[in-house]
Symmetry: C2
Subunit: 502 residues, 2 copies
């Protein structure tokens, strides 16, 4: 026996009472011998990855750096909490975003045509025909092959859109302004269910709906907002959270509240009754309509919070069905990239499975960075089937997620949790350390079938790799003297500057 | 020591482990001596009242009677669950209910002018002026004193209305038809907050609003319903329950869903845009608007379930601020009476206390007989302050209430309780035995101040006496050979028969 081992001779004199840490097999072995044992659910930080553990140790032991990080994160949170996004106009993508002809923007990171997810490619084909740049599918394919069509991420145009997220110049867009910080953001109008571009389906019905949205709905909403004045997005969200919406997968209440709010202004603005009736019928059948309002409000908020040096807070997450990109407060215009998650935790419609599904897709995951969606899931007991069917599971999910957030949203509260505020400020360090990742409440699209659209709904987990890589990118930027060999993929883009005049 | 007492000599040989039943003092005494003791929260049935205990014993031991009661209660429940109330028209009380000139109906049991609650009296004075039968308050008083005004309970006219519940002939009323059973019910349109008749306030603003409701809102809704077709009340309630409404104190979601549903028909029916805008603004500011839809739907339901001989189920509860009346399935047209509860459990607006409050008032307590309101309180976490501020308390309340109900409503589910159906079928026997009484989520009115209106909101408990007396009335009807000396006050009225032609 080595000399430095000291045996406490009294240790085995009385009955053993054990606290077992980590691997559960030890606990089980003791339980089988009827020993009194408490299992402590512990795992090594960052799964024991030496490189990540070393970075975390260096950060947490560097008091000067920690002071800088804490201050930066506080500033980031303060900007989020003081943001006041308002819808100030509805215009076209051409006018509002400056999207030129033969240019299309889409959800997620930039991607080559060949690697693009099936539904996103189909949506772009549809948008080309909607714009009249091609008169049928084959012409659209030829046009793309000729290299005449330029594709950019929505985020490059300060825009966000759900699922395939395709925006072309003639489409009407919501214009949000962050009243506090003055920045602008844009999003499409939601098409609803069925044969829609956001679900990767394009047919005669899709085209007619897009034309109606361009010719009737968009102009009507423009006149309505002008008459109504700026529409406070977070005011409606705060109410919706008390009415069963978590504001990503479910917007039933917010959409109803929007109708109640806008109809008088719509009529006072002189929109003909027939058109108003048509619009309200459309909204009554589309409980997701407010989703794009939430997204554009959150985009205007998180953009204002982005770019505080030393901030470790995630300020945007975005997917295109193939790649995932993550923006972190302190990484400036660099977005970290990784492959998306497959949708293996979703609830599929009858007849479909994960093998039919496109990968996680849409700009909508920005919602979770602002304390909504997965971060507010207990607000929506009706989506409990996403997490096993019980409200208790939703509450447990939110408690788990609060382990990787630094604060609480000051305006968003959960009635089912006795008005607790939602977790806010996803900290890259804590995600890396705990391996807990944000949880996105989302839909699932068919990868190959051009007529099916949505095939399920449920949760997507953010790939943990993207947080690991973001931490490494931060460590390199901070010039922590650590040898890291991991190759971190990222993309840099400066969003176009917007000077919006409504 | 008496001979028949046998002492188990081993009893005190080992440590005592005690189950203490009933009075908690015994448990406390043992706990103070560090004895292992479990307290069983038990109380004698019917508080040990010999007369009530005897009746319960006779009922539960009479298998023939029990078979009759069970069958009757099953029939009552089946009628409630199969009812399908629809709004088929909006008309005037004169036309729809046959309410003649110089006649006013009101919430609760019949009552003499001198005993009437302050707010109800003020509302009647207001209605008289609204009808033009008097041109000011003094003339209205003189008219009443002259005996020319007839007052009847709303229930006499197959109607229900909230709080003071005053209906006069020119007022527009909702017409509900129970699609399954063909019976009709009526209710007013909700005036909203502030200086309103239902809150016992009458001023220039009240008068103008009533005139607008008569001349604009009522006719517009009539045309809307004609265009839309019958409106399924329970369909909207079932959705509202998933969106934070318990459908008595809170109707925010149901009202928003109603707007979304009706606006297209309103416009298609040719109502001018300006009027529609005015109506939607009114509804946007009045989250209680759907309350009267719920009430009239429940009235049409519970009337169809009423009158099954041997049924022990409460089918209506109604209060006028002074007296409470209870209708029980097997008691035919006899309603049992007792004084109302005082509002000592309510949450008062700043500056007011229970000493300012009128007694429990309104026909709205019929809602609780149909598995809504207090019976569904966990659907509305935002009204948790009524029961201590926590959703857990709301869930506990519903569990307690399910001790006095015989079934669950097949259409009404609570999302916060993992889609559990709401307790339905309040059983007089179980209320008497357990002393658990239904729980009404309601508002509070000022008794004397003519300008204040609502001064609080919260819960009212049904007086237990009324269940005791209902049980005695049943026992007497069933000719159980028990000497009861208790004087049971009741009132008999045959509601007028309605043959409604829209």
């Amino acid at each position: 026996m080595p000399e430095n081992v000291i045996i406490d001779q009294t240790l085995f004199a009385s009955d053993l009472r054990v606290i077992a840490v980590g691997v559960p097999q030890f606990t089980d072995a003791l339980r089988q011998q009827s020993a009194a044992v408490v299992h402590l659910n512990w795992q090594p930080p960052a799964d024991g990855d030496p490189e990540l553990v070393e970075i975390l140790k260096r950060i947490y032991s560097d008091s000067r750096l920690m002071t800088q990080i804490d201050a930066a994160n506080q500033e980031t949170i303060a900007r989020i909490q003081s943001s006041a996004p308002e819808i100030i106009d509805v215009s076209t993508a051409r006018e509002a975003m400056g999207l030129p002809d033969y240019t299309i923007s889409h959800a997620g990171p930039p991607i080559e045509w060949e690697r693009m997810a099936g539904p996103q490619r189909r949506a772009i084909m549809g948008a080309i025909q909607f714009e009249g740049w091609a008169s049928n599918h084959d012409e659209a394919v030829a046009l793309v092959s000729s290299g005449k069509i330029q594709c950019y991420p929505n985020h490059f145009y300060n825009a966000v859109a759900p699922m395939t997220g395709v925006i072309s110049p003639s489409m009407p867009v919501l214009v949000a302004r962050n009243k506090t910080y003055g920045n602008y953001a844009f999003s499409t109008l939601n098409e609803g269910r069925g044969n829609t571009l956001w679900f990767g389906v394009f047919d005669e019905g899709t085209l007619r709906r897009l034309q109606w949205m361009r010719d009737e709905l968009g102009p009507a909403l423009k006149a309505t907002i002008q008459h109504h004045g700026p529409l406070d997005v977070f005011d409606i969200i705060a109410q919706g959270l008390q009415m069963g919406d978590e504001c990503h997968a479910r917007h039933t209440a917010c959409t109803a509240l929007l109708v109640k709010r806008l109809v008088p202004s719509m009529l006072d603005a002189g929109i003909p009754g027939k058109t108003v009736a048509e619009i309200v019928r459309f909204l009554d059948a589309n409980s997701h309509f407010f989703l794009n309002f939430t997204m554009v409000g959150v985009k205007a908020t998180m953009d204002a919070a982005q770019g505080v040096p030393y901030s470790t807070i995630a300020t945007a997450m975005s997917r295109n069905g193939v790649d995932f990109m993550l923006r972190v407060g302190g990484l400036g215009n660099d977005w970290v990239l990784s492959p998306v998650s497959q949708m293996d935790e979703a609830v599929y419609y009858i007849g479909y499975t994960v093998s039919d599904a496109a990968g996680d897709i849409g700009d909508s995951a920005i919602i979770e960075t602002c304390g909504l969606g997965g971060m507010a899931i207990a607000a929506a007991p009706t989506v409990a089937p996403f997490v096993g069917g019980r409200l208790a599971n939703e509450i447990a999910t939110m408690k788990t997620l609060s382990n990787i957030t630094l604060s609480r949203h000051n305006k968003f509260r959960i009635a089912t949790m006795d008005m607790e505020n939602t977790p806010l400020g996803i900290d890259v360090r804590q995600a890396v350390e705990t391996r807990i990742v944000p949880f996105i409440t989302t839909g699932v699209l068919h990868e190959t079938n051009p007529t099916v659209g949505q095939i399920g709904t449920g949760v997507a987990r953010v790939p943990i790799t993207i947080f690991d890589h973001a931490l490494i990118a931060l460590a390199r930027q901070w010039k922590l003297d650590i040898e890291t060999t991991t190759s971190v993929k990222s993309i840099r883009f400066n969003p176009i500057s917007v000077s919006y005049a409504s």
